[in-house]
């Protein structure tokens, strides 16, 4: 069978962050996955070594447009620990609120994208409509819809006014109602079930073995959540639960994300209602002492790790960013094996990858290495084979 190259999704209106991967397929079945990350490689890690702590935060914020707060929080948290800086409680609460709002907007976005992948545009539109409520809250609090710029080393840059808190609280009940509706839809809507159930299955052992993180791992019953296992901000002091599921497929990942939406609403409500008074930042020293730290953070997509090393100057010596998507690729590569080609978008979307709108999937047949377009004979043969299988 000649090599068939299907670069799914140049200008993909749904997926983010440029990543390209080749799918090595045997006919209709997938054998393995090959990855190319160079489309969006910018050299942020190098640039971070050349900018001081004040200037590096806006840079890290732009690692990713969806988890922008995650990257700055995990970095600021690490640097503060190296400086042995205790940041005020109010600042920690504000960071938590923004973090959970970000999780909400990311999960709503994901649900819409997953629906779009299976052509269910109505759900796509609805979730993104409800996402606007979260965006409004974030915009009121931070002044921007996507890059919030809330963090600085030593605290947060903007305080929450009582009006902002009340406006945010007023939006939550309706959002909660909508999320409940989505829970209902995901459990009952036929086309969603048909396309999500049993797709991209990952057992608990496999999830552990291949290092899946975040909702992908939790959907397989792996009970890991950096918010609980390595508590940061105020997660140790507030009531919330880790959501897990045992399905292990796309359906399970959807359920975990919707469950986390409910938890996030709970956390945000608790934090807004119990927002302590006080300072929002402390003065941070310009330089950090020599040291190294592994800073962990549960971003919407999974565990985000920054390995930071300082050398006594006002710049980091090294910051190594491990994004959740990178950690999840190995498991995606595994759960795509033996799946149908048409399920690639939804399985890939199920880990909520940060992909971009560039060529992404290339199907390469394993038997021959010849590149080219399918010939008519081939096409005939294929459709005949297909047709025989139908009968």
């Amino acid at each position: 069978m000649p090599e068939v190259i299907v670069p799914i999704g140049p200008h993909h209106p749904a997926l983010k962050e440029p990543v390209n991967f080749k799918v090595i397929a045997d006919g209709e079945k997938i054998i393995r996955l090959d990855l190319d990350l160079s489309y969006s490689h910018r050299g942020i890690e190098k640039a971070a070594e050349q900018r001081d702590f004040i200037r590096v935060l806006p840079l890290l914020e732009r690692v990713c447009g969806i988890c922008s707060h995650s990257h700055t929080t995990v970095f600021a948290k690490g640097i503060e620990e190296l400086m042995q800086l205790e940041i005020p409680l109010r600042a920690q609460y504000v960071r938590t609120i923004i973090a959970e709002l970000e999780r909400m907007h990311s999960h709503l976005l994901w649900l819409g994208v997953a629906a779009h992948e299976i052509g269910f545009n109505t759900l796509f539109m609805w979730t993104w409509r409800d996402r606007e409520a979260v965006q409004d809250t974030l915009e009121e609090m931070s002044g921007n819809r996507v890059h919030y710029g809330m963090n600085e080393v030593g605290g947060v840059r903007r305080d929450l006014t009582p009006e902002q808190v009340n406006a945010a609280l007023a939006r939550l009940p309706q959002l909660e109602e909508r999320v409940k509706k989505y829970i209902d839809m995901v459990n009952n809507q036929k086309t969603l079930l048909v396309r999500f159930r049993g797709i991209g299955k990952l057992s608990k052992e496999e999830a552990l073995k291949y290092g899946a993180v975040g909702p992908t791992a939790r959907a397989s019953g792996v009970d890991y959540d950096a918010r609980r296992d390595d508590p940061y901000l105020v997660y140790a002091d507030i009531p919330w639960n880790v959501v897990t599921d045992t399905n292990g497929d796309v359906y399970g990942r959807t359920r975990v994300r919707i469950g986390e939406l409910m938890e996030s609403i709970r956390i945000v409500r608790f934090c807004l209602e119990n927002l302590p008074e006080g300072q929002i930042r402390v003065n941070a020293p310009k330089t950090a002492p020599k040291g190294e730290i592994l800073s962990r953070y549960e971003a919407p997509r999974g565990e985000l790790v920054h390995f930071i090393r300082t050398n006594g100057t006002d710049k980091v010596e090294r910051v190594d960013i491990r994004t959740p998507t990178l950690a999840n690729w190995t498991s995606v590569a595994m759960c795509l094996v033996n799946q149908n080609l048409a399920d690639i978008p939804v399985i890939v979307a199920a880990i909520d990858p940060c992909l971009s709108c560039t060529s992404r999937i290339a199907v390469v047949d394993n038997h021959t290495r010849r590149a080219g377009v399918i010939t008519l004979d081939e096409l005939r043969k294929r459709s005949r084979a297909r047709f025989q299988r139908l009968e």
Binding site: L37, S38, K209, Y210, G211, L294, R318, D320, L326
Partner: protein, 159 residues
């Protein structure tokens, strides 16, 4: 499942592999050598029940290149296995067969630092573009773009 991991417990288990020190309440750093890293990972997996790899960090400290494997398990203790490699011929054995997730990190580190992982045949470019010149590793401290080298992009137009 084993009990809470303490420094003494770790020291006892890995005494012939390297030296351990507690660097944070939940992190123990073990300094080892490239020759021991596979054994170290195996024993950390078996004796300390670390079932997941957080990440492999690479760093250039000016004199040597460092690789740090961060593993954790149900006990929530992070075990960091650090090793140093010489700058002129940085080579380490691959761990992708015993730790499947490390495959992708190894390719990335190979691109950015030029560390060769013995036993990997598929260390092709993953994070730098296909026109990137060989033997240029951007995250090394002494690397700066050479003015006349073509790094990719569009030929003929200097941007």
């Amino acid at each position: 499942m084993i009990g809470p991991i303490t420094l003494d417990f770790v020291k006892e288990k890995i005494q012939d592999i390297g030296t351990a020190e507690q660097v944070r309440s939940n992190r123990i750093r073990i300094t080892t050598t490239p020759g021991h890293i596979r054994d170290a990972i195996k024993s950390v997996q078996e004796l300390l029940s670390c079932d997941r790899l957080l990440t492999i960090s690479a760093a250039d400290n000016g004199k040597t290149l460092e690789l740090i494997y961060h593993l954790t398990g149900p006990h929530r203790m992070i075990i960091s296995l650090a090793l140093e490699l010489p700058r002129d011929a940085p080579e380490a054995p691959t761990t992708s067969d015993i730790l499947p997730p490390s495959g992708i990190y190894e390719r990335q580190i190979h691109d950015l630092f030029g560390i060769l992982f013995q036993g990997r045949s598929d260390l092709k470019k993953i994070i730098l573009n296909e026109d990137w010149p060989e033997n240029e590793y951007p995250l090394r401290k002494d690397w700066t773009p050479a003015p006349d080298t073509f790094y990719g992009g569009i030929k003929g137009e200097k941007v």
